[in-house]
């Protein structure tokens, strides 16, 4: 390596950024050339001087402000996926729900109307879950403590349906456990409440894997519900019926498992 070549490589040499061959070449040249050696020393000491400069830290207040803004941003981002497909049909669907509840004799089911109305209402809230957790056992404990409800929280993760959390809802004047899941951008609501009388429950009957369900669809919202002992369970979502019945089946299983314990 000549002096000129060394000068070209000097910054990378002191930064340890040269390849093995160049590093060896530069080292060999420096061992022989006192002037270049002096130059390299100067370069190295200057680099150390720069690295020794005091490092100011960001004000704590800036960090706090950024965290708050990120939180706000996350909440805005969280509401968007659900609201976008829902908003277009929300007004119509709410009308149906109100109509169904308000008019005796209307052939739609009062309970299903209430469940759909709840589903739509919470799909539009920034954080639909009153208690947000993806831990099933944690959520079951919360529902037990908060509402005295022994509500099963099945695992739907194999179908890509994730647990979001839960809230306590009032459905037809009764305290209900309301568990929220999501698949992609689609919300799945699962309700459990003490069974109301038969008139409120009635609806089109469907059989799936030997079990009887009620099911109805209004404006893309599918509702599946059934009684299980003293409780009624209801699922509402824009997911297709296959997914809903599969979820219902799992829920029955989980409920049976829980009652065996």
């Amino acid at each position: 390596m000549t002096c000129q070549e060394l000068h070209a490589h000097l910054p990378a040499y002191v930064d340890g950024e040269l390849g093995v061959v160049e590093t060896l070449g530069a080292g060999a040249h420096l061992a022989e050339c006192p002037r270049c050696h002096l130059l390299a020393e100067g370069e190295r000491r200057f680099r150390e001087l720069l690295r020794r400069q005091p490092r100011e830290t960001a004000p704590a207040e800036l960090r706090a402000r950024i965290l708050v803004r990120c939180r706000q941003e996350a909440q805005r981002a969280a509401i968007r996926p659900w609201v976008a497909p829902v908003l277009a049909t929300a007004a119509a669907a709410v009308l149906i729900a109100v109509f169904a509840v308000g008019q005796p004799g209307f052939h739609s089911t009062p309970l299903a109307g209430d469940l759909v109305a709840q589903h739509i209402a919470y799909a539009q809230i920034e954080r639909p879950a009153e208690y947000a957790t993806a831990d099933r056992a944690d959520l079951e404990a919360w529902l037990r403590q908060r509402a005295g409800l022994q509500a099963p929280v099945p695992d739907y993760s194999a179908a890509g349906i994730r647990l979001v959390g839960a809230r306590i809802a009032g459905i037809r004047g009764r305290k209900a456990a309301y568990v929220l899941y999501e698949k992609g951008h689609t919300l799945l609501s699962v309700f459990m409440l003490p069974a109301p009388d038969d008139a409120e429950l009635a609806g089109p009957r469907v059989s799936y894997r030997g079990q009887e369900y009620f099911a109805q669809e209004r404006k893309g919202y599918r509702t599946v519900w059934w009684t299980d002992g003293p409780a009624v369970f209801g699922l509402v979502s824009m997911l297709d019926y296959d997914a809903l019945f599969e979820c219902a089946d799992r829920l029955r299983e989980e409920r049976a498992r829980q009652s065996r314990l």
């Binding site: 950024e17 002096l38 200057f46 690295r51 830290t57 941003e73 992609g184």
Partner: protein, 193 residues
């Protein structure tokens, strides 16, 4: 279609862990670009929010610090443009030729025996840094003051490693000359004029 959509709490926690650990470095970089604390804070906040919004697009295997510096630079250049000023990413060729005039000064070899290193006063480096054209200043800040490798600096600056190297070389020369001048002003180096 199933779109993966993580819970916002998870995303925020990950962002804090992966990105916000570089907040101090971002703040120092912003401070050295803007020379103004309020503006630097503003710039860092804008950078972090932009990064948070596009965090789902950030490749987890790549270098987060370089990615954040890139976002900060773009935000800073946008501000410069809005203020009607030139930016190095606008027309690189024009910048390089403009830099030529400055660097003829840098080509002059530094005196290897200069002995001002121990006498540099607090704040001198930042004062000298301000006199450097932006492309040199960026390279020196990222590599010498923040400790990025050439590769990381190349990612952050959006240029090849060779360019990082040459900017760094010229930046260091200019910086050293400026510091030498200050040392003479302070009276630590005499008899050379």
């Amino acid at each position: 279609m199933v779109i993966r959509w993580g819970r916002s709490d998870d995303r925020r926690a990950e962002f804090e862990e992966v990105a916000l650990v570089h907040l101090d470095a971002l703040y120092r970089f912003a401070l050295r670009l803007t020379h103004n604390r309020a503006e630097a804070q503003d710039l860092v906040q804008e950078t972090c929010l932009r990064a948070f919004r596009s965090f789902h697009r950030f490749d987890r295997g790549s270098n987060c610090r370089a990615w954040l510096f890139t976002i900060l630079r773009h935000a800073f250049f946008n501000r410069l443009r809005r203020a009607g000023r030139e930016t190095p990413d606008g027309d690189p060729v024009a910048w390089e030729s403009a830099l030529e005039s400055v660097t003829s000064e840098a080509r002059a070899a530094v005196d290897p025996e200069e002995e001002f290193f121990q006498t540099v006063l607090h704040g001198d480096v930042d004062r000298a840094l301000k006199t450097l054209p932006l492309p040199f200043r960026e390279a020196v800040i990222l590599v010498d003051l923040e400790g990025l490798t050439y590769k990381e600096a190349g990612e952050a600056l959006g240029c090849p490693i060779g360019t990082v190297m040459s900017r760094l070389w010229r930046g260091r020369r200019l910086l050293r000359q400026a510091l030498g001048r200050y040392a003479r002003e302070h009276g630590y180096l005499g008899g050379r004029e």
